[in-house]
Symmetry: C2
Subunit: 125 residues, 2 copies
DNA sequence: GTACTAGGTATCATTTTGTATACTATGTTT
DNA sequence: AAACATAGTATACAAAATGATACCTAGTAC
């Protein structure tokens, strides 16, 4: 029996409040500028977007291409190596879908947080 | 990737400083008492062990069997449903192993962690 | 009647993550 | 010469996760 566990290594790449959604965007759209990512993920701050992208870059999952021009232009994309994460993400996603079902069976339907929104005008009335 | 992203759902089960190692222990050893888990994971506090186990129990990954006796005896094990996580853990572990190699190529030797393996009896249950 | 056992809770301190907001750089446009 | 554009940094703060330590329970052995 091997006593080596690298689940945590894979986890390391994915953990962080915004990493899955960043990866989702880049996998879906190919190349994106910093500002496009910001638009696609409205609630993220520049600081978080930057830090999460840098971590992904460190792990060679995301490539950062700088155009030397003013105003600046920086494009992000999944590296060729990063594409190799697809099976991991796919497997996790598939299991996750099934698991949401399973939780529903166990505990009943749970409302999606984001689907519930109160219009500003109504708040406090 | 699909347009519904449940990677985060899968992450939810795995995230937490101690969850991977707890799962590793239970997958490897089958049934374990609370105190056995503590012995196997020396640095974990009772509080963390309890809270992580409760979360895994909520997700129906871990089963908690209480023996009504004094002093107390409580046994933990992977549920039948939990066994279904094996492909996820296996995929993450495999990719993680390769990724450690990749990081070594990029930055030189750095790390040592544990790896993940499922007890034979549990496979295909 | 005291100590021991196992599997926890309760409380508070510390560390890690994430948020909010302001600031920077610099060539181009007005 | 002021404003604009983009991709960030810097600083301060708040919230969440984790850690340290003490305490609880109730039978049983001494």
């Amino acid at each position: 029996m091997s006593d080596e566990c690298r689940v945590e290594t894979a986890l390391e790449i994915l953990v962080g409040k915004w990493k899955p959604v960043i990866l989702f965007q880049l996998f879906s759209n190919g190349t994106m500028r910093f500002s496009e990512l910001q638009k696609a993920i409205p609630d993220i701050t520049k600081k978080m977007l930057t830090s999460q992208l840098r971590e992904l870059e460190y792990h060679d999952i995301v490539h950062r291409k700088i155009y030397q021009q003013i105003p600046p232009k920086v494009e992000y994309s999944i590296t060729e190596y990063g594409i190799g994460m697809t099976p991991v993400l796919q497997t996790m996603n598939d299991w996750g879908m099934a698991h949401v079902e399973h939780l529903n069976e166990l505990y009943g339907e749970v409302r999606e947080v984001e689907s519930f929104e109160v219009k500003d005008e109504l708040v406090g009335k």
